[in-house]
Subunit: 203 residues, 2 copies
Amino acid sequence: MNADPPRTRIQKKNRHAILDAALEVFSRHGFRGATLDQIAGEAGLSKPNLLYYFSSKEAIFVTLLSGLMETWLDPLRALDPDGEPAEELLAYVRRKLQLSRDFPRESRLFANEIVQGAPRMEHLLATDLKSLVDDKAAVIQGWIAEGKIADIDPHHLIFSVWALTQHYADFDVQVRAVLGPDHDPLAEAETFLTTLFTRLLRP
Amino acid sequence: MNADPPRTRIQKKNRHAILDAALEVFSRHGFRGATLDQIAGEAGLSKPNLLYYFSSKEAIFVTLLSGLMETWLDPLRALDPDGEPAEELLAYVRRKLQLSRDFPRESRLFANEIVQGAPRMEHLLATDLKSLVDDKAAVIQGWIAEGKIADIDPHHLIFSVWALTQHYADFDVQVRAVLGPDHDPLAEAETFLTTLFTRLLRP
DNA sequence: GTCTATACCGTGATAGAC
DNA sequence: GTCTATCACGGTATAGAC
């Protein structure tokens, strides 16, 4: 999937700086709202120099997305069909919440793109993401059939995990504005979501 | 709060057309990603003519936001302290889901702005929104103290309503991509969320 | 292989004719 | 009250010097 990997050390360093800067800027302003000037500035390069490493704004964006997709889907991929059902699902929630804590920019990047209609991601959603979700939904449906967890729609259960965990990264400013200072939203979220999903899944 | 209301009929019509077009464009691309050309085109006006009605891009945006804020907070405002607790909260969820169904553009407008750090809304969040939420959280805390519903954090309960209901408007393309055709996501969501909150709130 | 200078276009906003 | 013409600016992308 990847093109030729960068060769020289300076290339590697600059490409990395660009992608990190791009993550920062794209996640804050969305694709169209981001400017090459900002990305170049953040990366410590001139704008034309930036375009030496990537042929276009879209090229930066696509490279960024495909590099992050794997990390993004890992928590769901790790759902073990042979594990203890409720515990597996709660562990999934915790992994996803961990991503919101450690990689909020990545979360906002995807959020921005999807809210704006996902014009550069729609294919990935309908193929990779759909097949992974369908796969895991079948696992969950199996657990339901065995009476291990409550009878709830597996697809919407997965949506609810996404919505509830990503909310704390994507809508962070709102959460903090409402809670006020002296709060650790993500720590509180872990307690709250553990309760929520425990009650939801109990057969 | 409002400036002088428009006088002539044509002004009223044009202002309305502009705000509707702006809602469409801002909700799809965010503030910076939106262009006056697009808004003008969608509204059937020339760009300079548009700027006759609103002095700047930001003026359009702010007018739009403040006009929608009330509608947006109504479902929570309607939570009745004297009602039957669990039923009140479930009705709140249904009202919020109704907004996702009927006003997805409004939902995405707010989502875009908040994901991007809410630079033009932060004040509203920390004042109007916070005081409303604190108020209703106290009501919910009262219900908990009376043993009418389960003991869960009221603020995060409200966040969970937002996250779960708005997800179906803001991440609509993802939901549809994963479910595939022949689904009515919002109808399914109503069933799912009713179950979820019923189980969560049961004392 | 790396960066500087620059072209060229679309953007938000204004001036002035109608 | 509305439109045409235009401006200054910042946007993406390229040509060519080092």
